[in-house]
């Protein structure tokens, strides 16, 4: 057994071990340090004595003993200093061969507690539940490693000091706490998906987010929102390869080649979505996922785009979640069904303050204005959109559109991927 094998065991069981130690000893730091120490011992012992039959159980038991030892050392130090009473001992070491209890759900809820800084939640979850290294996460988040390490330290200190409970929340706090978990994963996935070319450092970590949504769906098998998120991330990830052409230019969803889509991911997404709908189809995350499923049902570019069905679903979505993003996406479908003029009137009704720096709004608006022959206004909207865009594939797409409009060419495609 070598380092790579240990790495694999760590990836598979690390989150579970960290979770059970954190919940048993009420300390994220102790859980992390003990597991790290167990890994160090494995690297020392396994090559000499041969790998244990059940490497994960070995790591768990060793980490548990390391944690107990650390507590004994600390308690002894405290006792010597303050003559405090004999502390509770943690003598109930885990049985040999017993399964590792699964406390990952509690750990996910701790990492994504609303009291933890928003920008630290996803990083902490990836670190503790998925076992990603600080370096890996810092690369994914495009942050210096030291900055990310600081964030993690601060978040762990906040959790320890603020009294964040080491349990799955009760019914009273459930909706709010679950929403914090889901939105953390949504933001993290959106970041991983942001760059259409999908070649950046984000691409690999999108897989980790997908894995997290799978774990969450396994732990909460009947929650419609959890299942819908697992479905949506799969539908989106399945289309990654078709999102840009060979020149790195973004391709709008309605023009993407379904032959390039990952069928296995789509099938997985579909089965998550079916379970979500069976649980409660009247949730915005479920309807949103159904829209993705509608697109992913296309088999080839010759299938007509399902604009009518997509618009009908957006109408439902709007009754469950009325916000500018939903209105904007609905307008894109509306333009295909009822014409650009009608869609522009819908856009005009969206609060200008909300859309002031919202790139998709200007990208959609520019396209609709162009199609209505309002070229001057379209050019202006393209300029605003280009000033807001941050990713290369989208920048090229917008710039190309603007230049075509200035030359008087007519593009073949219609609307951006949103």
């Amino acid at each position: 057994m070598n380092g790579a094998a240990l790495d694999r065991v760590f990836r598979e069981a690390g989150g579970r071990i960290t979770a059970v130690l954190a919940s048993r000893f009420r300390s994220l730091d102790l859980a992390e340090d003990s597991l790290a120490e167990a890994c160090a011992r494995a690297l020392d012992v396994w090559p000499r004595n041969g790998a244990p039959n059940d490497p994960a159980a070995w790591l768990y038991q060793t980490a548990y003993r390391c944690a107990v030892d650390a507590i004994r050392r600390r308690d002894t130090a405290t006792r010597l200093a303050s003559y405090a009473a004999e502390p509770d001992a943690y003598e109930d070491l885990p049985d040999d061969g017993g399964p590792i209890p699964d406390e990952r759900l509690a750990l996910i809820f701790i990492c994504c507690h609303p009291a933890v800084a928003v920008e630290a939640r996803a990083a902490l979850t990836l670190r503790l539940v998925c076992g990603l290294s600080t370096r890996e996460i810092s690369r994914a988040f495009l942050l210096p490693e030291a900055t990310l390490a600081q964030r993690l330290i601060r978040a762990k200190r906040k959790i320890a000091d603020a009294g964040v409970p080491f349990e799955v929340p009760g019914p009273e706090g459930w909706p709010e706490r679950l929403d914090a978990v889901l939105s953390t994963l949504e933001v993290a996935y959106a970041k991983a998906h942001e760059d259409a070319s999908g070649t950046g450092p984000h691409a690999a970590y999108a897989i980790e987010i997908l894995e997290l949504t799978r774990v969450l769906a396994q732990l909460l098998p009947n929650d419609p929102d959890v299942l819908a998120l697992a479905a949506t991330t799969r539908f989106t990830e399945a289309r990654r390869r078709s999102r840009t052409n060979s020149r790195g230019l973004m391709i709008p969803l309605s023009e993407q080649d379904p032959a390039l889509w990952d069928r296995q991911l789509i099938d997985e997404g579909r089965s998550f979505l079916e379970r979500a709908m069976a649980s409660d189809s009247n949730r915005w995350r479920v309807v949103q996922s159904a829209i993705h499923a509608e697109w992913c049902a296309r088999k080839s570019v010759s299938d007509p785009p399902p604009w009518q069905e997509v618009l009908a679903l957006y109408d439902v979505l709007l009754t469950l979640r009325d916000d500018p993003v939903v209105r904007l996406n609905r307008a894109v479908a509306l333009a295909e069904v009822s014409g650009a003029q009608t869609a522009i009137r819908e856009l005009d009704a969206i609060d200008a303050e909300v859309t002031a720096e919202f790139l998709p709004y200007y990208a959609v608006r520019a396209d609709l204005l162009r199609r209505s022959g309002r070229n001057i206004e379209a050019l202006y909207a393209y300029e605003v959109a280009i000033s807001l865009v941050t990713t290369p594939a989208e920048r090229r797409w917008l710039t190309e559109r603007r230049d075509m409009l200035m030359r008087g060419d007519k593009p073949s495609s219609s609307s951006p991927d949103r």
Binding site: H113, A115, A162, G163, V164, P165, G173, R177
Partner: protein
């Protein structure tokens, strides 16, 4: 675990002397809330308006006395509760029920100590 719940509201809605109808209304709500808290409540009080505040400031070992609150802000500290609950989630649940008349914020701070 003990937590301090610090109540921030725009005190101008209660008038300069905090004795108008708005004040009576919020006091009645706090009385009812106190009964609901029962043994969870370790202490608490409403505070007179910041016009009555005096600040003792220490700078480089030198002390001076100022009229007014420590910091000027849109919402002012107007009262507090000290509660004893198992964890932050329980404290958040209590904080959500602390009455405020209009807009306001409840800052939750764990008490230092074992």
């Amino acid at each position: 675990m003990q937590f301090m719940l610090l109540i921030y509201e725009d005190e101008s809605i209660y008038g300069p002397d905090k004795d108008g109808a708005a004040m009576q209304q919020i006091v009645a709500k706090h009385m009812a809330f106190n009964r609901e808290l029962g043994a969870v409540r370790m202490g608490g009080a409403g505070l007179k308006s910041t016009t009555s505040a005096t600040t003792v400031r220490t700078t480089k070992g030198k002390q001076s006395i100022h009229d007014g609150p420590f910091a000027e802000s849109k919402e002012q500290l107007g009262g507090f509760y000290l509660i004893d609950v198992p964890d932050l989630d329980a404290a958040i649940a209590v904080a959500k029920k602390v009455p405020v008349l209009q807009d306001g914020s409840i800052e939750i701070r764990p008490v230092l100590g074992p």
